[in-house]
């Protein structure tokens, strides 16, 4: 596959029905992300960041235009095809971690590999590697309720990275973390981006995250108002 664009968004529009009319969340978005990018969509609340991430993540579809991820137009995928795309090629990191509360740290990280039907020995190695990356080897048997916010987010990173996806989408990953924890997890993600060449796309309005981004796309009222690479 060509190294150039892992994600290609063209003339993307997203409306949500409101009463008899509709609310425009995204308007004429044109963006491309290359493999290995460490990019972020920034902007105030309600600017359309999460909507854009959801469409790229094939959790939602565009109203108009196209969003092509790994060569597949997400708007034209069936539920099953979209699920397969997410399962095989994408990792998600959420603001509220979204860990499975009844699972241990190990089981949470192992979960995506079970969906991929990997052999137990392969799974074990991959999970331990992922937990090593995020420095949580000593919390393997803990449950999410026994972890701090920072530790939970590190588990979420390990879970997103364990299958070594081409693309990781992180929606406000530091919003619930203090500065020290935010820097810790961002450094972890930068390291993984460099070592594994995984593409990271953030949705954030947190300055601590923005400092780490190599490319910053600013959205306002559903429109791209700035796209700068440092």
């Amino acid at each position: 596959m060509e190294n150039a664009h892992i994600v290609n968004v063209e003339s993307l529009v997203k409306h949500y029905p409101v009463g008899k009319g509709h609310f425009t969340a995204l308007s004429d978005i044109n963006l491309s992300f290359s493999t290995g990018e460490f990019a972020g969509v920034v902007g105030p609340s309600g600017s359309g960041k999460t909507t854009l991430l959801n469409i790229i993540g094939s959790l939602d579809g565009p109203t108009e235009g196209t969003a092509t991820v790994l060569g597949k137009s997400v708007g034209q995928l069936s539920h099953k095809q979209a699920a397969k795309l997410r399962k095989t090629h994408m990792g998600f990191i959420f603001q509220t971690y979204n860990l499975l509360p009844v699972y241990t740290v190990y089981e949470n990280v192992e979960f995506p590999l079970i969906l991929l039907k990997q052999a137990p020995s392969e799974r074990r190695k991959a999970v331990l590697d992922a937990l090593e990356w995020v420095g949580l080897m000593d919390k393997i048997k803990s449950k999410p309720a026994q972890l701090s916010g920072g530790e939970c987010q590190r588990v979420a990173i390990a879970r997103a990275m364990v299958k070594r996806p081409e693309l990781v989408l992180a929606d406000e990953p530091t919003a619930n973390l203090d500065a020290a924890n935010s820097h810790h997890i961002l450094k972890t993600m930068v390291k993984l981006n460099q070592e594994l060449k995984t593409t990271f796309i953030f949705a954030t309005h947190d300055d601590k995250v923005i400092k780490y981004l190599k490319r910053k796309i600013t959205l306002e009222d559903g429109k791209v108002v700035n796209d700068e690479t440092t």
Partner: protein, 390 residues
């Protein structure tokens, strides 16, 4: 397999919530199997007692005899043919003569059936040997039910009034020589048993009988004019009808128990889907299809019953085996229900019973788990991820 693995992990992780449901389901499984075991045991015991005490290997009736129509009794007697007498001599059958009579216990009139039976007979478990060798003019035995209703006891004398073959009334005193305990109302309630020769003499019906009870190991192939063979199918027909009715009654109990269990499972499933929206969204984000999530939740619910079957077996099997040995004591007064009930019923559990009850519980739990899980297929994953109620 993935759904089973994940469901098991989720259930074990859910802790107390899971174990409460599993406990309720296990209890219900054991109760249903035990209840059916009691009914099966009761049925088998009732049929066995009927055969041992009343019908033996079948009966031969005079053609006019109808046990439910007292008017037929006047004509329901015939002289026993030489070939029938030979069979009686060989112990293959026992003759019984039946006539209507009245007794007057404590100054009140009570209609009864006076039955004559060969005191030497071995085909019925009736203790007819008690009718032998006493000094009494007319020795009689009665069952405990009759003794209770007539307030008669061993050693009591009671006046019996009857009509002979010519319609002439006569009366005599009989002496109760034994009160036997029997679970078959048809040989107990409203009946007095005396030696058949004595009754033949009293009714002026020498050498006659109303019916014959066959030995359980004997098959009668004869053809006697005026006599009709009544086999087990005929004689047990009414009992089997009663068993059917009893089973329907038992099913109500079973349905109520199942409804309670299913309510618990349904409630858990609805609550799960309501509370676990974020988790559902996360499953979808990680690549599970909606169908897979529905399957996962359905398997989770259905697994409650599988776990209940496994865990219920630990206390359930020893309990059911123990009950099978010591039996279940029936409450006082249950012998007045009009069918054979012993003081203790020994439950009988067949493999078919256990498997069918378990299958019904598992299939019902699966359906009840699936119904609320269908809501997941309509969920918007982007809203579910945030835990927003939909």
């Amino acid at each position: 397999m993935t759904a089973i693995k994940l469901a098991l992990r989720n259930l074990i992780g859910a802790g107390l919530r899971t174990w409460l449901n599993v406990f309720v389901l296990a209890l219900i499984l054991i109760l249903i199997i035990w209840h059916y075991g009691i009914i099966d045991g009761w049925n088998r015991m009732a049929i066995r007692d009927m055969i041992n005490w009343e019908i033996g290997g079948g009966q031969i009736w005079t053609a006019d005899y109808d046990p439910y129509d007292p008017f037929t009794l006047d004509d329901s007697h015939r002289v026993l043919s030489p070939s029938l007498n030979d069979e009686i001599e060989q112990g293959n059958m026992a003759p019984i003569l039946v006539t209507q009579a009245s007794i007057y216990p404590q100054g009140r009139i009570m209609s009864i059936l006076l039955k004559g039976i060969d005191p030497d007979q071995q085909v019925s478990e009736l203790p007819t040997d008690k009718l032998l060798g006493g000094d009494e003019d007319i020795p009689a035995i009665i069952g405990t039910g009759m003794a209770r209703d007539s307030k008669l006891n061993t050693g009591d004398n009671i006046t019996v009034r009857w009509r002979d073959v010519n319609g002439t009334f006569d009366a005599a005193e009989v002496t109760i020589v034994d009160v036997f305990k029997c679970d078959v109302p048809a040989v107990d309630n409203g009946q007095i048993w005396i030696p058949i020769e004595k009754l033949q003499e009293m009714t002026q019906m020498p050498g006659e009988a109303t019916l014959l009870i066959l030995d359980q190991d004997y098959t009668w192939t004869g053809d006697e004019n005026g006599w009709v063979l009544r086999d087990h199918d005929y004689l047990l027909q009414e009992m089997r009808e009663m068993i059917k009715v009893k089973k329907v009654g038992g099913s109500v109990f079973y349905i109520v128990l199942m409804l309670l269990a299913m309510l618990a499972v349904f409630d858990t499933q609805v609550l799960s889907i309501f509370r676990r929206q974020k988790e559902i969204g996360t499953y979808m984000a990680m690549g599970m299809t909606r169908g897979q999530v529905v399957r996962l939740f359905t398997v989770e619910g259905a697994m409650h019953s599988t776990l209940a079957a496994i865990l219920g077996a630990i206390p359930g099997i020893p309990f059911l085996i123990w009950m099978g040995k010591v039996g279940f004591a029936m409450p006082a007064g249950s012998d007045s229900l009009g069918m054979a009930i012993s003081e203790t019923i020994y439950p009988v559990y067949s493999i078919g019973l256990i498997i069918s009850v378990m299958l019904i519980v598992i299939v019902t739990t699966t359906i009840v788990s699936y119904l609320p899980s269908r809501k997941i297929s309509k969920m918007n994953p982007t809203e579910a991820i945030k835990g927003k109620l939909q």
